[in-house]
């Protein structure tokens, strides 16, 4: 990898001012995607700004009827959080399936979300759970945050500080995991918010998306039967050496049914 200047600011404001003053800076959170990218010289920033020393960005807390997860909270800590397990077990389940144990000790919810990999798990969690992305400048609903392939609504100079999750009535995440990479070939988050049902899909398209037909059907009748005939259009879905678009479309319905069936 090309060398760079390394910064480890102690506050978000310092990180933001570095973002503004460096020539071609990049933020680094856990680095589970960025460091391999730098090794391949697919990115060659002049400056790396590490968010790891900013204590405010770590940890899980409850604020009223919301769970707030700091952007630098690692996947292992979300998966093992008593608070998350007791309020949004579907989110803990999702975090515990990312990568492998060593990756989960470094990778973070903020970094994964900002990277917006089409096969990452968190986009389905954020969108399904109706989360809000909190940055140093504003709050962005998850529905508006993921804008395309590796693309988000984040502006230059904007830093994710936390994710806010309203506590749902019930949630469940099902994933067809790529056996080598651990990424989602398809991942489906099904959430009963109390005001309706949300179904968010990752891995299958260029970016996370919701399945309106399933949401309508499940909001009326929360049962496997109500969605088993719903076919997702394969047009525009990802096709690669691992799975065709038609296969992914089929698996979305299979995983959604399994998630619904998991509600006892």
């Amino acid at each position: 990898m090309q060398d760079f200047t390394f910064h480890m600011p102690a506050a978000v404001a310092d990180a933001a001012s570095l973002l503004g003053s460096c020539e071609d800076p990049k933020l680094i959170a856990g680095g589970m995607t960025l460091l391999p990218t730098l090794k391949q010289r697919l990115a060659e920033p002049t400056d790396l700004i590490d968010l790891g020393a900013i204590a405010d960005l770590k940890g899980v807390k409850r604020e009223g009827d919301q769970i707030v997860v700091g952007a630098m909270t690692c996947h292992a800590d979300v998966a093992a959080s008593e608070l998350v397990l007791s309020t949004i077990p579907g989110l803990a389940m999702l975090a515990g399936q990312i990568g492998d144990p060593a990756v989960r000790h470094r990778g973070t919810i903020g970094g994964s979300s900002a990277n917006a990999d089409p096969a990452a798990d968190y986009p389905a969690g954020l969108v399904g759970l109706c989360a809000t992305v909190v940055t140093n400048q504003r709050e962005i609903p998850a529905d508006d945050f993921f804008t395309g392939l590796f693309d988000t609504a984040l502006e230059p100079g904007e830093i994710i500080t936390a994710m806010r999750f309203p506590i749902p009535k019930w949630s469940h995440y099902m994933k067809l995991r790529h056996p080598a990479s651990g990424y989602a070939v398809v991942g489906v988050m099904v959430v009963d918010t109390g005001a309706g049902v949300r179904v968010a899909v990752t891995g299958a398209g260029p970016s996370v998306f919701r399945v309106a037909a399933m949401e309508e059907a499940l909001s009326k009748d929360f049962s496997v039967k109500s969605i088993e005939a719903i076919k997702v259009d394969a047009d525009g879905l990802n096709a690669d050496m691992h799975a065709s678009a038609a296969y992914r479309a089929h698996v979305i319905t299979v995983l959604a049914k399994r998630a619904v069936a998991a509600r006892g």
């Binding site: 060398d3 390394f6 460091l35 590490d50 144990p101 060593a102 990756v103």
Partner: protein
């Protein structure tokens, strides 16, 4: 440009001057000459380079030395007691023949300890699942899994704290 880096490795304070792009595993192997930690894939997949940073297993090929500033790092060299007696996980690998060529072994042992700490008295299914980020190219998993299952019981009984 070189930057000063300080951390604790295997209980001893160490320091050195590194380029910003220096990986933790490069600092450990090339600067400190602790070559027990191996580099298998250099792409975060194989787990040969697993060390503990502040008590948690991480892949040292995918963390910068500068990111580990001020932390406490344990490598395979830091496990055995001063008199040479093995850590229970190392002893279990010896007992169960948990290695063939031995290249993945340092990472397997370090990950094994991490698994045993999070899952006292871990069963075979748990160990196999938790080993998803460690690859044995000899496919010698049977002995490795038996060793970790056994050592997790020994460590739980002894209230092991390394």
């Amino acid at each position: 440009m070189l930057t000063e880096v300080n951390m604790t490795i295997n209980g001893a304070a160490v320091s050195g001057k590194v380029e910003a792009r220096t990986l933790l595993v490069e600092f450990i192997r090339d600067h400190l000459k602790l070559t027990g930690t191996h580099v298998g894939c250099d792409t975060t997949q194989c787990g040969c380079c697993v060390v503990h940073v502040d008590g948690r297993a991480v892949k040292s090929c995918t963390i910068l030395a500068l990111q580990a500033r001020g932390t406490s790092v344990t490598t395979i060299e830091g496990l055995a007691a001063a008199d040479g007696s093995l850590h229970p996980m190392q002893e279990a690998f010896r007992e169960h023949h948990g290695l063939q060529c031995g290249f993945c072994t340092p990472g397997m042992v370090m990950m094994g300890i991490d698994i045993a700490r999070r899952h006292p008295n871990a069963d075979e299914h748990t160990v196999r699942h938790e080993l998803e980020g460690n690859i044995c190219r000899c496919t010698g998993y049977q002995g490795i899994v038996e060793a970790i299952v056994d050592a997790s019981r020994v460590m739980a009984t002894a209230g092991e704290k390394v």
